[in-house]
């Protein structure tokens, strides 16, 4: 997911306070920034929301890669609006994290120095125009699976950010599918591009949910805190069940020989992605890790004079106003 393999912290707080805190969460109450919370809850959330925000920001790059090559004015505008939304979503999430006592600049530094991660999916390249469709359809589709339940997460600012994001995001997956449909029903070359995009993005999309976590202590803790609502396997299954008929409608083939309807579970059986590839990508060995980090580092470094220039001007004008009074 946009926040993958987030490790939870072990709690060291007073057991009575912890129990009262857990009771509030169990009662469906929202936890607000200035209220007491276990240090471990706070730290885990910073990690999770920060990673989610970073994913939105780095996620601008693979799609942004095609803005200047979009084939029609309308497709160009749609893609630009969508990538702009990703920036907005990153911004909302950073703000949610900031209520926990960390600054956006801190989080940015941690991303740029490699101490914080972003979703593995954005280390894959967008090689053809059909990839833009695949990203919207599959990647946003997978993200929505996770984000819709997170609207009910226990931390107030995170929940509110997710509500806003989900509202805005409803067009993202649809535009991806619409683009894919234009490709799948187009010329032979377009159809080939569509199939190729599905082939390349299928398993990385399944990886977005993270390895099975049904036995993970981190996952159990996060679920108790309601900062994680479903297990990775549940969401993955749901995603496959939703996506298979959509692919069939397009006349595209999911690249999995073992894909089979399972009458008993009323869902599709499917192959696991290659988890060794997933761990390599996390380690920095994906096709685009270096490029993505360099692009973000350059943007931040090259923008420093701009940010400082505006801050300096604001200080000067404030001082002038004081002097004039």
């Amino acid at each position: 997911m946009y926040a993958q393999m987030v490790k939870s912290e072990a709690s060291t707080d007073d057991p009575a306070l912890l129990a009262a805190f857990q009771a509030r969460i169990d009662a469906g109450e929202k936890i607000e920034p200035k209220e007491w919370m276990p240090e471990a809850y706070r730290k885990t959330l910073i990690r999770q929301i920060g990673q989610h925000a970073h994913s939105e920001i780095v996620g601008q790059l693979p799609e942004g890669n095609w803005i200047t090559r979009a084939p029609t004015l309308e497709r160009k505008a749609i893609l630009l609006a969508k990538v702009q939304d990703e920036a907005g979503h990153g911004l909302y999430l950073y703000c949610a994290a900031e209520t926990l006592g960390v600054s956006r600049d801190d989080l940015t530094e941690q991303l740029l120095s490699g101490r914080m991660k972003y979703s593995s999916i954005f280390n894959y390249p967008t090689l053809t125009w059909a990839d833009i469709g695949a990203v919207g359809w599959l990647v946003d589709g997978a993200a929505i699976m996770n984000q819709v339940p997170l609207q009910r997460t226990s931390f107030g600012p995170y929940s509110r950010a997710m509500i806003r994001i989900c509202k805005e995001e409803s067009f993202h997956q649809r535009q991806g599918y619409d683009l894919m449909r234009a490709m799948a029903t187009g010329t032979a070359e377009q159809k080939a591009m569509a199939q190729d995009a599905l082939n390349r993005f299928w398993y990385p999309s399944l990886m977005m949910f993270g390895p099975s976590d049904k036995d993970s202590i981190h996952s159990t803790q996060s679920m108790a805190w309601r900062i994680k609502i479903n297990t990775n396997d549940e969401l993955r299954q749901k995603f496959v069940d939703q996506t298979v008929p959509q692919a069939q409608y397009l006349g595209l083939t999911i690249p999995d020989e073992n894909l089979k309807w399972n009458e008993e579970k009323q869902g599709w059986d499917f192959s696991e992605p290659d988890w060794s590839e997933f761990y390599e990508v996390l380690k920095g060995n994906g096709p685009c890790n270096t490029d993505r980090m360099e692009a973000r580092q350059r943007a931040w470094r090259d923008g420093e004079w701009f940010r400082e220039g505006l801050m300096a001007h604001a200080r000067k004008s404030a001082a002038r106003r004081v002097a004039a009074e």
Binding site: E32, K34, E35, W36, A81, Q84, D85, G88, L91, Y92, C95, E98, S103, R104, D105, R160, A161, R164, E168, E304, R307, E308, L310, M311, H313, A314, S317, A318
Partner: protein, 94 residues
């Protein structure tokens, strides 16, 4: 000195004349730019007609530990709510 832009809270009044509502926050060097950023960030879908921004540091919030004393007294003033009053059906809508 840190060059990090300060944080602002953004309040927007929508199309229908309701009160300004808190919609989120953003970073800006000063109030004027905060308004402009709010326009660009929070009204991309035509959400608002009026924007307020307040430095986050200037917000004074009620303390969570006082939640009881502050809000519970209102709990028993049920007579403030319209459903407290039983109006006979024959009277119609009121």
């Amino acid at each position: 000195m840190s060059s990090e832009w300060p944080l602002w809270e953004v309040f927007i009044r929508g199309q229908h004349g309701l009160n300004h509502r808190h919609v989120g926050s953003l970073h800006a060097p000063d109030a004027e730019l905060a308004i402009r950023h709010a326009r660009d960030v929070y009204t991309r879908r035509n959400e608002g007609v009026s924007i307020w921004v307040v430095p986050s540091a200037q917000i004074t919030a009620s303390s969570p530990s006082e939640k009881g004393p502050l809000f519970e007294p209102a709990n028993d003033k049920v007579y403030r709510h319209p459903t407290f009053y039983d109006i006979p059906d024959e009277v119609g809508h009121m």
